[in-house]
């Protein structure tokens, strides 16, 4: 088994008719993903690409198509509302791709999600991919914006805050003939739904996952928390990389969450935490896959 999603998972897309949402829905359909519904208020009854039915609300889309997961491509001012609509519809998983959501909106969303069954991945993330068995991993479940073809079905779990750095790690694995169980981008914002630690626990419990690559970056302390847990509990080899060793303090490096402030969240502290937890630290981002493979 993979984690969170399988090739059979039925997904709906919130914001399916926006240019960004539409483009990536096409790519997911081409990858063989079960995109069964779209949601755009006011466009209910239409079809996306003459194929996928569009609904006015998430609840209706889920009820009529059996979708259990949402991919959210709604613009930042409305994204918090879109996440809570997915929560209200009782979906299992909401993956929010949107970049640029105000932090306080996410503070409210996160508070409102407490005690609810829906898990959130993101926002500001590349999404989740469980590779399929076809050519270039076709037939898998691709939620979000990651390129499908770089994946390969296999046994390594990948978790990262960053998009292109995830692709880099995945591609290194695939080029070495090593496949992935599930690849997850948790997003680069300071407030997000699922943490590194949440994903690591799922990979630890997943029999199909035999090794884990965890990619972190400066800011916050989520990597340290994951490392502490790994030290005590993780039964699988973990290799990692922390981006931002050269970033100056007090400057936000692209991602809203990637900032060293008040002496907290430095790359050095995170690398130290990784080492103390027995996590293999890749000396450069070119060696993420090799570092893990040496441990296996």
């Amino acid at each position: 088994m993979s984690i969170l999603i399988t090739p059979q998972t039925k997904i709906l897309v919130q914001g399916i008719t926006g240019s960004f949402g539409a483009r990536h829905t096409q790519l997911s359909l081409a990858y063989g993903t079960q995109v069964v519904a779209g949601v755009t208020p006011g466009k209910g009854g239409q079809r996306f690409e003459n194929q996928v039915p569009i609904f006015d609300t998430v609840a209706e889309a889920a009820r009529q198509t059996g979708a259990t997961v949402s991919a959210i491509f709604v613009p930042p001012p409305f994204a918090g509302d879109a996440i809570l609509e997915a929560v209200d519809a009782g979906l299992e998983l909401a993956v929010c791709i949107t970049e640029g959501i105000p932090v306080n909106d996410m503070v409210k969303v996160k508070q409102a999600m407490q005690g609810k069954k829906t898990r959130l991945i993101g926002p500001n993330c590349p999404g989740v991919v469980t590779p399929g068995t076809g050519k270039d991993s076709h037939g898998g479940c691709r939620i979000g914006i990651a390129p499908g073809y770089i994946h390969k079905k296999g046994n390594i779990g990948v978790v990262s805050r960053s998009g292109t750095l995830t692709y880099e790690a995945v591609w290194q694995l695939t080029c070495r003939g090593v496949g992935q169980s599930t690849c997850i981008g948790i997003g680069g914002d300071p407030v997000n739904g699922t943490s590194h630690l949440d994903v690591i626990k799922m990979f630890n419990d997943d029999p199909e996952t035999k090794g884990i690559i965890m990619i972190g970056e400066i800011g916050g302390s989520a990597e340290e928390e994951a490392a502490e847990w790994i030290k005590q509990n993780c039964r699988k080899p973990v290799a990692g990389f922390i981006a931002g060793a050269t970033a100056p303090p007090g400057r936000r490096m692209g991602h809203a969450g990637a900032i060293v402030s008040g002496g907290k969240g430095t790359a050095a502290a995170k690398i130290q935490a990784f080492k103390e937890a027995g996590i293999g630290v890749a000396p450069t981002p070119s060696e993420m896959a090799d570092t893990l493979l040496r441990m296996m």
């Binding site: 105000p102 306080n104 409210k108 750095l165 931002g244 970033a247 400057r251 450069t284 981002p285």
Partner: protein, 402 residues
């Protein structure tokens, strides 16, 4: 986005936070006029404060040789004199770097007699995803030092965003700060006002250092935000028109302003190897790998997920405006983005800018073969890197030689 102290105090005052009376000005005459009004109201002392987006102003030195970006004055004539010495001059503090910042505005405000300096800040607690108010009896000093040496002197209160900061939380912190009698209610009201400013303005951080217990005009003690610093969440600026207008472009690096016009995320650094990358994480990692192989990155530059030919050209021009740059590393993982589009953009940019510096390009991903062909058939001297590490080593070596 950051704003000036006087702007931060304007926002705080709107939410009921007591600040010393005063006003902002940009000429010595205006400064004198503000001071005259304050003295006429019975103030004994007036402070003249340079308005720049950097701390350490009081201990700073102007390039003119004038000492101190914050001055206390007993007369309006003295205010005029001090204002004249500061306005139009470049102030260097420990936070500005050696280039310093031009002072074009001053805050002239009442300087009451201070009995005790306290500390107060509101920020996001990332571990809980909730707002956090932090106070300390150790105000007026570097709070990071307090946190490192005497962490027990920092008192934290987590705030439930659903209900906001409750009055009891304000009273609890006021008591923890050692306030007594009438000052407890006054302090609690001020703390709630600061929280409200943080929340309603979508601030990333509000810091009041020092928060002061003062001798009020009636002889009774009062509590005032004597300094104030506010940083805002850029993602939320769209819903605060009044705050957008507070942006001071003079405080931002010109190249960073130029980059933002093209939706490029650029941050200038001190090194000599420029990089152009897609994605923030990969861009940071590219800087790291340059340093790992003995080089020094000149910038952070994320061209985003869907870089166009125009963006790549603009990015090259921005990179090349930095005179320290001795070589360029382009690192693109074009997962969805067509590598050939990027390659075409690079070729066009090299031709347009007449680039003479060593250029190493690492392309990976979608349509990569066509992209590499475009580069090699361009007739330009572009070195190809097979992996991030190969490309980084090549650019470090090329720059080392030049």
């Amino acid at each position: 986005m950051n704003i000036h102290e006087y702007q931060a105090k304007q926002l705080l005052a709107q939410y009921g936070v007591a600040v010393p009376p005063g006003d902002v000005c940009s000429t010595p005459e205006e400064a004198q006029a503000i001071a005259e009004k304050l003295f006429a109201k019975g103030e004994k002392l007036v402070v003249v404060k340079s308005q720049i987006h950097a701390g350490g102003r009081g201990k700073g030195t102007f390039k003119s040789g004038f000492q101190g970006g914050v001055k206390l004055c007993k007369t309006a004539a003295d205010v005029h004199e001090k204002a004249k010495a500061m306005l139009g001059q470049v102030l260097v503090t420990k936070q500005t770097g050696p280039e310093g910042r031009l002072v074009s505005k001053l805050l002239v405000a009442a300087a009451p007699v201070i009995r005790k300096e306290l500390y107060l800040a509101v920020l996001l607690d990332r571990a809980t995803s909730r707002p956090l108010m932090m106070v300390s009896t150790e105000g007026g000093v570097d709070i990071e030092e307090v946190a490192a040496k005497t962490p027990e002197k920092i008192i934290k209160e987590s705030i439930d965003p659903a209900v906001g900061m409750m009055p009891y939380q304000g009273r609890k912190l006021a008591v923890a700060l050692g306030l007594q009698g009438d000052l407890i209610a006054q302090g609690a009201k001020l703390l709630q006002g600061v929280y409200k400013t943080w929340w309603e303005c979508d601030a990333a951080m509000v810091e009041i250092n020092p928060l002061c217990i003062i001798d009020g005009p009636d002889g009774k003690p009062g509590i005032l935000a004597v300094d104030a610093k506010i940083g805002l969440d850029d993602n939320a600026l769209y819903r605060h028109k009044n705050i957008q207008e507070m942006r001071d472009l003079a405080e931002e690096a010109p190249l960073e302003i130029e980059a933002s016009k093209f939706n490029l995320n650029y941050i200038k650094l001190d090194g000599n190897i420029a990089c152009l990358v897609n994605g923030a994480g990969l861009a940071m990692a590219t800087m790291d790998i340059i340093q790992h192989f003995g080089g020094s990155p000149a910038n952070f530059l994320d061209v985003g997920g869907g870089a166009s030919k125009e963006q790549v050209t603009a990015a090259f021009k921005i990179i090349l405006s930095d005179p320290h740059v001795k070589g360029i590393l382009v690192n693109i993982f074009g997962g969805i983005m067509d590598c050939n589009v990027i390659a075409t953009g690079i070729v066009a940019a090299v031709r347009e800018t007449g680039l003479k510096l060593p250029l190493v390009v690492r392309l990976e991903g979608n349509n990569v073969q066509a992209g590499k062909k475009t580069l090699s058939e361009s007739g330009l001297t572009i070195t190809s890197g097979d992996s991030m590490s190969d490309a980084a080593q090549k650019v470090v070596k090329a720059v080392g030689k030049s």
